[in-house]
Symmetry: C2
Subunit: 198 residues, 2 copies
């Protein structure tokens, strides 16, 4: 059955974006190396270090579905109908956005709550992972004890304020087991297994 | 001249302690490996991985003086007069604690403000580093543009709440250059150079 994996890029002080949703230099590592990593989008190719390429290929090849919140969907304009990772996407939302769903675009909108969204994403992912994006989705999944792995792309910034990766977790403290630390350029990819609560 | 280096152990979500100053499992990495690292205290020997031993030896051999806040001094009871790192210690405080200073113990108490404390520690450190501990001291030093290096011992915990390593920084966003990521067991030692503000 699909594992739930949470992954985001985060500053050293725990932010995924500034208060206005801009990301400052957090995403610089997607374009600071010699290795080309094509995405599902013809207009988007990443240029990264070999270490980051290895990480990105792993994320892209293991994601069977993505589960995201409405906020990220709106901020990215639904990735213009094509997410860089070529997999079905489940959007948890209070309502279906205007103009969606669209023919030929593998996005599913779930308006009946988090548990249903997880079920939908898990079914779509098959034997692969459900990749979680967005702090609110990730918070709910950690609190429900459903997240098996957390991947943090740690970027060399102290942002000072903004939107936190981890906030208001009812389940905290959460013990992790670090399984990898892959050093790229302007990023370290940190992999953690979430340990069962005692 | 002495460089100012900030180092603390931090959870993945940015905390150095819980609200009651307890550290949960953050410091487990000091005692989970086969390599003995003696300290200046006869009653304290760390047992760590070879990677963490290398990191600890570096910190201990490069620290020419420590600059700490009164809060840490009180919490540790002044390290019973002997800090594990064998170097002079400067304590920034509003007042000199009762019973201090003491003969033969290389602690200096500065009550005339942060700048004077930095001057005292820098003079004591000589060609070595001034090691900063305590989030309030580190915040002031970063805001003053004085910190050259930040070392974070990143521990595999999400604490959820507590005392943050980085908080209320006027200087943020601060751009860093990551210079090392050393993976121990239950810790990754992250080294950052603080880049000049643009």
């Amino acid at each position: 059955m699909a594992r739930l994996v949470a992954e985001m890029t985060m500053s050293l002080d725990g932010f995924i974006a500034l208060p206005d949703d801009s990301v400052n230099g957090l995403f610089d590592w997607y374009n600071n190396g010699p290795v080309e990593v094509p995405t599902a989008r013809p207009d988007m190719t990443w240029h990264v270090t070999e270490a980051s390429a290895m990480h990105l290929r792993r994320t892209m090849s293991t994601a069977g579905a993505m589960l995201v919140g409405r906020r990220i969907f709106d901020l990215t304009h639904g990735w213009d109908g094509r997410h860089p990772i070529d997999c079905p996407i489940v959007v948890l939302s209070h309502s279906v956005p205007d103009g969606w769903p669209r023919d030929g675009i593998p996005y599913t909108f779930v308006t009946t709550g988090f548990a249903d969204a997880v079920r939908a994403a898990t079914a779509l992912a098959g034997d692969k992972d459900v990749s979680l994006a967005g702090p609110d989705i990730i918070r709910q999944a950690i609190d429900a004890g459903l997240v098996e792995e957390i991947r943090v792309n740690l970027a060399p910034w102290i942002l000072g304020h903004g939107i936190r990766f981890f906030d208001n977790l009812a389940a905290a403290p959460v013990k992790l087991e670090q399984t990898a630390a892959i050093q790229g350029d302007a990023v370290t990819h940190l992999y953690y297994r979430v340990l069962p609560r005692i």
